[in-house]
């Protein structure tokens, strides 16, 4: 079980949260990118071996949406990498 830090409630059991998927790239202007880049934005989600930024919803809690960084190799919640945006 993971303990996820909610900015409103503090550390809570993973069971109170619903996974909201990885944080993807910002939506590009479809007129300013190539078809290939647009398809990449629409269909390719981040799936690294290592830290990934994820959205979680404190659904059975205060209702807050939050993001965490989680290492896919260890399942640990980790600090954001230095080069993260």
């Amino acid at each position: 079980m993971m303990l996820i830090h909610c900015p409103f409630c503090g550390k809570r059991s993973e069971s109170e949260f619903i996974y909201g998927g990885p944080v993807g790239a910002d939506r590009p202007n479809p007129d300013a990118v190539s078809d290939a880049q647009w398809v990449e934005y629409l269909t390719v989600t981040p799936n690294p071996l290592g830290p990934v930024q994820e959205k979680w919803w404190h659904a059975r809690g205060c209702g807050e949406w939050l993001t965490i960084w989680r290492d896919t190799r260890t399942h640990d919640i980790v600090e954001a990498p230095e080069n993260a945006q």
Partner: protein
């Protein structure tokens, strides 16, 4: 094993769900409400009204059912400004009181919160889970209280009885 606890399903309460910036809510109805609690998942009490801070820009007001009509008259949910929301939800939740020496043991079966008195302080109130169902859990002198949606009430009675016998 059996536990030494007392379970009581509470009478229905008057409940109002308040959403929006606290300044706007206070401007609209502040004089009829307890002081707004400043700490997340805490509550303030005035007369017999409890105001609980249960999410960002989200409060629940609880009072005896006998005050429901007069509170509705003062809070005027149907004519409040568009940047806030006040909704009467008295019918939606059913409350259970869990008291007695083994109350923490039974709550620990039902709920993933760290319920130790040094963490979940007396007077705290928060949404969490009870037997996997979203529940508003609070810690008061001598025990715990939680509320689930009315329709889950009978099932929760069954779960509690299974947990304690």
């Amino acid at each position: 094993m059996s536990y030494n606890i007392h379970i009581q399903r509470q009478e229905i309460s008057a409940l109002f769900d308040l959403k929006g910036p606290s300044e706007a809510l206070q401007e609209w109805a502040g004089k009829h409400l307890p002081v707004f609690p400043s700490h997340p998942n805490s509550k303030t009490i005035k007369d017999e009204m409890e105001l609980s801070f249960i999410g960002r820009n989200h409060w629940i007001l609880r009072a005896p059912l006998s005050q429901e009509q007069s509170l509705a008259g003062r809070l005027m949910p149907e004519s409040c400004p568009s940047d806030i929301s006040i909704v009467r939800i008295s019918d939606t939740l059913t409350f259970f009181g869990i008291s007695g020496p083994d109350a923490p043991e039974v709550m620990a079966i039902a709920c993933p919160l760290d319920l130790h008195a040094s963490v979940f302080l007396e007077g705290m109130i928060t949404y969490s889970e009870v037997f996997g169902i979203k529940a508003l859990v609070s810690h008061y002198d001598g025990g715990f209280e939680f509320a689930v949606e009315q329709s889950f009430g009978d099932m929760i009675v069954d779960y509690l009885n299974r947990a304690i016998t």
